[in-house]
């Protein structure tokens, strides 16, 4: 399966080279119809505790035309996103007490809500990752950290911590420019 994909990849790349000389603007998508799936923004909500298994059979390689852009035309507004995080967390959690079932649902809901609101900002060519942690406040020690390997000129992140009497919540949004 892998070998045929590699062969098709090389062929498609050589075909694309010929194609890119003629068209200078616009993006062309050339899809390999391996399973008849088309690439669109699928919104799947999946709650898994195990490391995700990528389905090798349904992997499509999308060939994109060159945009000749060196960087993003519109940068990701970290400040606006910060406000979004603050609003969402405060609205959802201001009055809540820590309860296991409630907080389990809350994390999933909040991460979806934040993602939709940031998507609505319509920043082009940015991929988003939203992470929400909710925990009990019980004079425990907790440390949350992250490291990223990306292009700091175009990629950024934004985060906000919310606290009330019985719980804390940390929401982070990572925005990665799609080159």
């Amino acid at each position: 399966m892998m070998m045929s994909e590699i062969a098709k990849d090389r062929m498609a790349r050589s075909v694309r080279k010929r194609g890119s000389v003629s068209s200078l603007n616009g993006r062309e998508f050339r899809q390999k119809e391996l399973h008849g799936n088309t690439k669109n923004s699928r919104n799947t909500v999946s709650f898994t505790d195990e490391p995700s298994q990528q389905d090798n059979a349904s992997r499509l390689t999308v060939q994109m035309e060159n945009t000749y852009q060196l960087g993003p035309t519109k940068h990701f507004p970290a400040v606006i996103v910060n406000h979004i995080l603050k609003d969402v967390l405060t609205n959802y959690l201001q009055e809540e007490q820590y309860e296991p079932e409630l907080c389990r649902q809350m994390t999933k809901t909040i991460s979806e809500v934040i993602k939709t609101q940031v998507k609505d900002l319509m920043i082009p060519r940015y991929k988003l990752i939203v992470i929400v942690h909710i925990g009990q406040l019980k004079s425990q020690s907790i440390l949350i950290g992250s490291r990223c390997l990306w292009d700091p000129k175009s990629d950024t992140f934004s985060s906000y911590v919310f606290r009330n009497s019985s719980l804390f919540a940390l929401a982070s949004v990572y925005a990665v420019y799609f080159e």
């Binding site: 994909e5 590699i6 090389r10 790349r13 050589s14 080279k17 690439k39 799947t44 909500v45 709650f47 898994t48 505790d49 195990e50 490391p51 995700s52 298994q53 990528q54 090798n56 349904s58 992997r59 390689t61 999308v62 820590y98 296991p100 907080c103 389990r104 809350m106 994390t107 999933k108 991460s111 979806e112 993602k115 991929k127 988003l128 990752i129 939203v130 992470i131 929400v132 942690h133 909710i134 925990g135 009990q136 019980k138 425990q140 020690s141 907790i142 440390l143 950290g145 992250s146 490291r147 990223c148 390997l149 990306w150 292009d151 990629d155 982070s172 990572y174 990665v176 799609f178 080159e179």
Partner: protein, 116 residues
């Protein structure tokens, strides 16, 4: 004009490989350590950085985001959720949970493809 050949021909993010890499890094750094307020910062930093370097050595054209949460082990409630907007065919994620007597570790690796 020459054809650009990627030195790694594999397409897609392998969650298993990432899982193994992270597990090795954690075992290497933490081994049998107990929760220690002073060292915890150092440990998380070194684990995260080591896993990043190993992931880069895989040689794939990906941007990586590695996040880590450490909690002291006791009667303590903690929830994590993540939501991503990306290309599901080329990007992927991997979550690793590791625990010992005194602490719980939660690791997330997000890999986002660069189209060359």
């Amino acid at each position: 004009m020459e054809e650009y050949h990627r030195h790694c021909e594999e397409v897609g993010f392998s969650a298993d490989e990432a899982h193994n890499i992270v597990k090795e890094c954690i075992d290497g750094v933490l081994g049998g350590e107990d929760y220690n307020q002073n060292n915890i910062n150092q440990w998380t930093a070194s684990i995260v950085e080591q896993s990043l370097t190993h992931l880069v050595k895989l040689g794939k054209a990906y941007k990586y985001i590695v996040t880590c949460a450490v909690v002291q082990r006791s009667a303590y409630g903690f929830h994590t959720a993540s939501s991503c907007f990306w290309d599901t065919t080329s990007d992927g994620t991997c979550t690793v949970r590791w625990e010992n007597r005194t602490m719980n570790f939660f690791f997330n690796v997000f890999a986002i493809a660069i189209v060359l």
